[in-house]
Chain length 328, copies 2
């Protein structure tokens, strides 16, 4: 393993000088600077970041806590975040917390032990306190953790509203919200709220058909089948695209014509779903912008932990993608 002393030897100077070059302080002549850089290159030297971190230098590690990257939405979001972080010189520690409180807790401990510079929290099984206790810079996706932790989120309320209105515009009058309404603080709630509000404005009756997030596919299908077979429904606001796809598929099985008999709008609009299910109307979250903002805010917190932000809540605009399933 090449170390600082090796570089110094190669460059014919002292370790202090090499360190001065690397950390860019004190007096250094261009000549020496160049010599040192050459030596580093020749030896393929990389400062041991473990050793550097021990002096209190930044680790340039960021913990990403999200439910699961196998979900296309989170996959894309994590992908974009990772990309931004990389551009800013950070490395990403990936923590798929699922909906496992204990796992998330262990992760938090671990991230602290590894001296990460900050955390982007996108899975929310744990309360504020545990996050607060880390004493680390944190930004949150989609859920409020506390007053002094910035939160970035799509405008879920608006999305729920947009979707409902769109279904109405296309003639739907028995509009259901399908999703998991019980989760407190979960973004689904805001979407539901947008739905409810709009339903009220339109003087319709609200219908909520619960489909639990982490149930098996079969159970979800059962719930949806029940809805389609036993209820008078001509419009559905789905809590997310995957649920919408399920509804699309089951409708097909049951011979329900989309959009004539039933109109559907999903939520999330990840690139994969948009590109590969072109029939589905959906509320698109601006994933790249979300990623960018999360990283920007986190970096701000890291560079200046005490500075108060002028804003702690960021709702990014959503967009209605009109396609066949909502009755084009």
């Amino acid at each position: 393993m090449v170390k600082l002393t090796d570089v110094a030897a190669k460059a014919g100077c002292s370790v202090t000088t090499v360190s001065r070059v690397i950390n860019n302080y004190g007096y250094i002549s261009q000549k020496t600077r160049k010599k040192v850089h050459e030596a580093m290159k020749e030896l393929n030297y990389q400062p041991n970041s473990v050793a550097r971190s021990l002096q209190g230098k930044k680790t340039k590690l960021i913990g990403l806590i999200f439910p699961d990257v196998s979900n296309p939405f989170f996959g894309e979001l994590v992908s974009k975040i990772e990309d931004r972080l990389f551009k800013h010189g950070y490395k990403t520690i990936l923590c798929n917390a699922g909906n496992d409180k204990e796992k998330e807790r262990i992760y938090l401990q671990m991230l602290m032990a590894n001296q990460v510079d900050g955390i982007i929290a996108g899975a929310h099984n744990l309360g504020i306190e545990e996050y607060q206790r880390t004493g680390l810079p944190i930004v949150s996706f989609d859920r409020k953790l506390s007053d002094n932790i910035p939160i970035v989120s799509a405008d879920n309320f608006k999305g729920g509203s947009l979707a409902t209105q769109e279904l109405y515009n296309h003639g739907a009058r028995h509009i259901y919200f399908v999703g998991n309404p019980t989760l407190d603080g979960h973004p689904t709630q805001k979407r539901l709220l947008g739905y409810k509000e709009t339903i009220k404005e339109l003087k319709l009756t609200e219908h909520i058909h619960p489909v639990i997030f982490n149930e098996t596919l079969a159970l979800k299908e059962m719930a949806i089948r029940d809805l389609l077979e036993n209820h008078k429904v001509d419009g559905i606001v789905a809590s997310d695209d995957l649920t919408a796809l399920l509804i699309l598929n089951i409708s097909h099985d049951l011979g329900i014509h989309i959009p004539k008999d039933l109109k559907i709008i999903g939520f999330d609009g990840s690139k994969v779903v948009r590109d590969f299910e072109p029939r589905l109307s959906t509320i698109v979250q601006p994933i790249p912008s979300i990623a960018q903002l999360l990283v920007k805010l986190l970096e701000k917190r890291i560079d200046n932990p005490t500075e108060e932000l002028d804003n702690y809540t960021y709702y990014l605009p959503v967009e209605l993608l009109k396609r066949e399933s909502s009755g084009k």
Copy 2:
């Protein structure tokens, strides 16, 4: 920040004793052990893993280099790998290398600088040498890097063959392979080989219709449209599910009936695609097994870097998932 000395003070013993407890060596009475553990718990103490790593202890960090987790297949694979690693006490540094050689190179440097214990390589923009030069334990997914680096892969050849045979069984006689055939060493090649071999056995003519992986959606669509409109084709082996979905969608647009006029089989079979596009027949890669084996092999290499493995090539069995698109 709570440190070793604090724990020692709290537990009323020396740092040596605490260290003995943590690292489990030397003589320790049950009584003291308990006292120390209690002190650690009370103080919410976590050994600073940066400091530990500096003694040459393992960092318990693993670098995951994959193209992009926004792709459902890689998303699921990374998710499963992360899960396995977590269970084995490892943390995951996520590196989305895309198809960017330079990014992958920087990542490699970075992983070395961070003293990761090992690397799982799943993006292959770089040659062997650069990986070899890291001197780190490595296992590879889907591509041979060198003789002494274990490679785990699904049986792509078999998959290509199975798919072709299945289309034939259902009456297809003008069977095309659609994908990116030029990438050397890429798993697609093996799938193509399986296709070719089977076509030969069946005494049919092989047709390869190139659709380049990293082109834009529009260009891909154009290529597929060209295929469907201007060629006599009644069966398609797609190099991956996303391509297959594209073909499915475009066929629909063109009024081509699936599977009557055209039969399609995809490749990968990620859970998302399986669950949410139930019409698509596909060759399913055993993602959980792949993840498990990758982690197992890597851990073996880490724990015993010099030990020769009895096998360096692992082809895991694929499975044909028969559904509507191949003519059920």
